[in-house]
Subunit: 108 residues, 2 copies
Amino acid sequence: MSDIPKIFSALSDPTRFAIVERLMNEGELPAGALQAGFDISAPAISRHLSVLNGAGVVNRRVNRQQRLYSVRPEIMQDICSWTMTHREFWESSLMRLEAALVEEMNKK
Amino acid sequence: MSDIPKIFSALSDPTRFAIVERLMNEGELPAGALQAGFDISAPAISRHLSVLNGAGVVNRRVNRQQRLYSVRPEIMQDICSWTMTHREFWESSLMRLEAALVEEMNKK
DNA sequence: CCACAATTTAACATTTACATTAAATAAAGT
DNA sequence: ACTTTATTTAATGTAAATGTTAAATTGTGG
């Protein structure tokens, strides 16, 4: 299994989170296209991309003088799977909360 | 919707991640019980719990001189929901990857 | 009220994260 | 070869995170 805290660390920065969302919505993009839209320097974006790559969140591909980045879908599946391993906990907890709310309503 | 990067930030620390997993498996626990098992000082654990609480990941409840902590199930649901909003992206991507693998197999 | 137990806050040191500007690298086009 | 384009690496400063020990807080019980 993959290192979930490391993935979360990569996604904990708002800029990196936005980059990943953009890549999922728009597909593979070069570093330059990602810089546009973030009020931040090119080296800063490059570092963020390097962090994402280091955590296995994105892939890097070279095409001419561009570096194209894309989200590794396995990472999203890993996060989803992690929530699922605790699904019994949170689904039953939420049901108890809902039941407690209904109780409250009936009392008043 | 909730602040996913903030939740990820809270869960990016290995100690905090382990605390949250323990709380989900064992249920509500006092700070002291959480300290045991982590080779770290009580104030450090207290700070980690405060960070988790600040991000809305855990709830704090007072009972006698103990502070009891538990995971807020909504947070797990929020993370799960976030992956689901991008499900089309990652499921189709994974299918393409699998198809490409099958192609490779057939060639050889 | 005093002592104990559980936990947090304060003060401090150290490491890590993130931004910037300037310089380096890589690939193409002229 | 020289210039332009795209991106990264280096050097540096500053802010934030994390750990420690010591002191303060909060609640129980003699």
